[in-house]
Subunit: 385 residues, 2 copies
Amino acid sequence: MVNNVCVLGAGSTKYGKLSQSIIELGLDAAKGAIDSAGITPKDIQAGYISNVFGVADKQVHMAPVLMSNLGIPHVPGLTIESACGSGSVMFREAYANVAAGFYDCVLGVGVEKVTHTGTTLSTTLFSYCSDFFYEGGNGASFPGLFASIARAYLNKYKATEEDLAYVAIKNHENGLLNPKAHIRKSITVDDVLNSPVVASPLKVYDCCPFSDGASAVILCTEEFAKKIGNDYVRVIGSGRGGSPAAVQSREDITTIPSTIIAANQAYKMAGVTPKDIDFAEVHDCFTIAEIIDIEDLGFFKKGTGGVAAREGITKRTGEIPINPSGGLKSKGHPIGATGIGQVVEVYEQFTGKAGERSVKDAEIALTHNFGATGASAAVHVFQKV
Amino acid sequence: MVNNVCVLGAGSTKYGKLSQSIIELGLDAAKGAIDSAGITPKDIQAGYISNVFGVADKQVHMAPVLMSNLGIPHVPGLTIESACGSGSVMFREAYANVAAGFYDCVLGVGVEKVTHTGTTLSTTLFSYCSDFFYEGGNGASFPGLFASIARAYLNKYKATEEDLAYVAIKNHENGLLNPKAHIRKSITVDDVLNSPVVASPLKVYDCCPFSDGASAVILCTEEFAKKIGNDYVRVIGSGRGGSPAAVQSREDITTIPSTIIAANQAYKMAGVTPKDIDFAEVHDCFTIAEIIDIEDLGFFKKGTGGVAAREGITKRTGEIPINPSGGLKSKGHPIGATGIGQVVEVYEQFTGKAGERSVKDAEIALTHNFGATGASAAVHVFQKV
C-alpha cells in the first residue's frame, strides 16, 4: 500500500420506487459525486460500478454506458457483485486500486432498479443470491431465512419482538430527517407489532423495502484531494470476510462470522477498537440483522443488542448512534447502491452536510454491509479530517 | 506495486453445451487449478469470480457458494462483470490485489451457463450487454452490430468474405487439437461461405457458439510460487481501456479504441513491443473481430489482418500464431469464463501442457479479451519462466 485514500465527494439519488432508468439513476448520483468533489469527469481514471440485477432493467455491462454518458468513454470500468453487499465490496476494490497506486482518482457508483418488476419477481430474483441449491431452491426466501435467525436469537437470548420493533422505530425516526429516504414515517411499537406477519416473528415493519436508487463516491489519494482543496474524509480501515453460504451450514445462526472477520481486519488496520467508533451505518435489512450486527461489530455483548435498541443507546443522540441515515429500514435498500449509500452518509456527516440528522462530535465512523444472510461482508472505518 | 505476480496453476472444464450446474462447473475448474498449482484450498486468501448471467442458472452471489464448497467459507469473494470481457477484467483485479500486497495467493474462476435457455433468450440476454437504449433496445443484437462492423471493414479495406472465412478455418484447425474445445470440426472455405447467413456478411461459421464452461487460475506472488516449487508463468503487463459504448458513437468502426489503449498500457508495463509477442489469444467472437484485434494490437497494419489470415501467418505454425487454443470460434465462448480460459491456454503452453497444439519456442504471450463490441477491453502480457 503506497497511498492514503480519501472520499472527496459523494452523491445520491432519492431512494424509493423511481421512474428513471438504471443508467439515469447512476448518472444522477455520479454527477452529484463529481460536483461535490469539485472535479471534472476528466479527472476520473477508472469507474467502479456495483449492481446485482442490471438484467431487470435490461442493462448489464453498465460501466461503459455510464462512462460514455459522462463524456469519458475511454476510461475503463467494471461491475462488482456481491449480492446486497455489492456496494461495500466495490468500495473495497476501488480503495485497493487507489491505495496501491494504480489510480489517483476513481468513481464508484452503486445502483439498482428492481421495483418495476414487482414484489414477487423481486423476491424470486433476490433468492438467487442465497445458496440456491439449499435455500432459495427449496423455498427459503430471505424473509424466511432471517425469520429463522430471528427465532433462534429470541429463543437463545430471551429477547422479545418488542426489542426488534425498537430498531425499526429508531431507524424510521432517523429517516424522517433524511430527505432522500424511501420511507419517511414515524412509527410506534404497536404499529410494528400489529403490522402483517411476513415470516414469523418478522412483520412488515421488521423488513426493509425493495428500493430503486443510486449512490456514488469519488475516491482518490490524499495528495490528489489536497490539490483539489475541497473537504474530504479519510479511509483508515478496510476488511472483508465470508461465512458458510447456506444458513443451515453455520454452527450458530445468531452471529455472522463474515462481519466479525471483516471488522477485526478493519479495526486492526485503522488502529482503533469498537469503543473509538462515534457512529456506524450497519446492514439492517431486517431488524434482527441490526441487533446481530452491533454485537458482532463489538459495540455490545452478545445477546444485548436488543436491549441497546430498547434503551435508546443506538439513537442518533445516544451513546453509539446506529444508522443515523435511517438505514436500509427507512432510507431504503437499492441493493447494489446500499454499501455506497452508507459511505455517502459518512461523507455528509463529516463534511457538515447532514443537516438536522448530524451526529454531534463524531470523528471516527464505521460502515458495515453484507450480502445475502451475511455470506459476504465488508467493513470500513473512516476518519474526519 | 510491490510484488511480481504469477499464474501458478490453471484448470478448465470442457466448453460446450453442458449439463452441470454453474456451481459444479466453477468447482470443477477451481479444483483443476488448485491441483495443478500444488496448493490446498487453505492457501487461498480471496476468491475472484467472473460471470455475467448467473441469473440464468438461478445463482447470483456465487463466490460464497464456491468458497463454501471448497471448504474455505470464511475466505472473501466477489463477482466481476464486464460482459464478454469479464474474465480478463477479473484477472486484472486479482492481479492488482496481489501486486499491491493485499494477498499472496488468490483463486480466479470464470464461469458461465446459458445454453439451457436456448438461442433466442441467450441472444436477448446478451443484448443487455450492448448500450441497450441505442442498440439492443432497437433490435441491434451482437451479430447485427458485428455485421455492420464487418461490412464497414470489407468496404474500407477491399477485404473479402473469404478473408473472414480463413480466420474460422484456422481456429477450427487449432480447436481440433484442443480436447476441451466446444466445436471440433475441420471446415473449408466453401463450408463457411455456404453456411446460412446470420447477419450479412456474417454467416454461421463466422460466429462463435454460445457455450457453457468454466476456467480457473491461481494467481500468487513470485515468492509464494517459488516456495511451492511448481512451474509458473509470470504476468509482466496489464492494461484496460474503454470505447464509446454504442457502436454508432465511434468515429471509425473498423478499429476498437479500448483494445489500443489496453494494449499500449500492457506493452509499456511489460517493456515489450508487438514484435516480441510469440503468440496471442485474442477475442474472436466473430471472424471480423479477430482481424480487427490483430491490427489494433499492432501485429499487422490496418487493413491487412485479413490477408494475414489468408496467407497463414496467424496459423499455429505461422509467424505469429493467433488463438492456438481454437479461440472463441472453436474452443467456445462461455462469456464469464472466456478471458480466464485464454490465461489457461498461456499457462498450458508455457508449462508444457499444451500437447499437440504447442507453439514452438514461445516465451512471451498476450491475451486480449473484450466486452460487447469492445466497449471494454483488457490485455495482459505473460512471460515463460
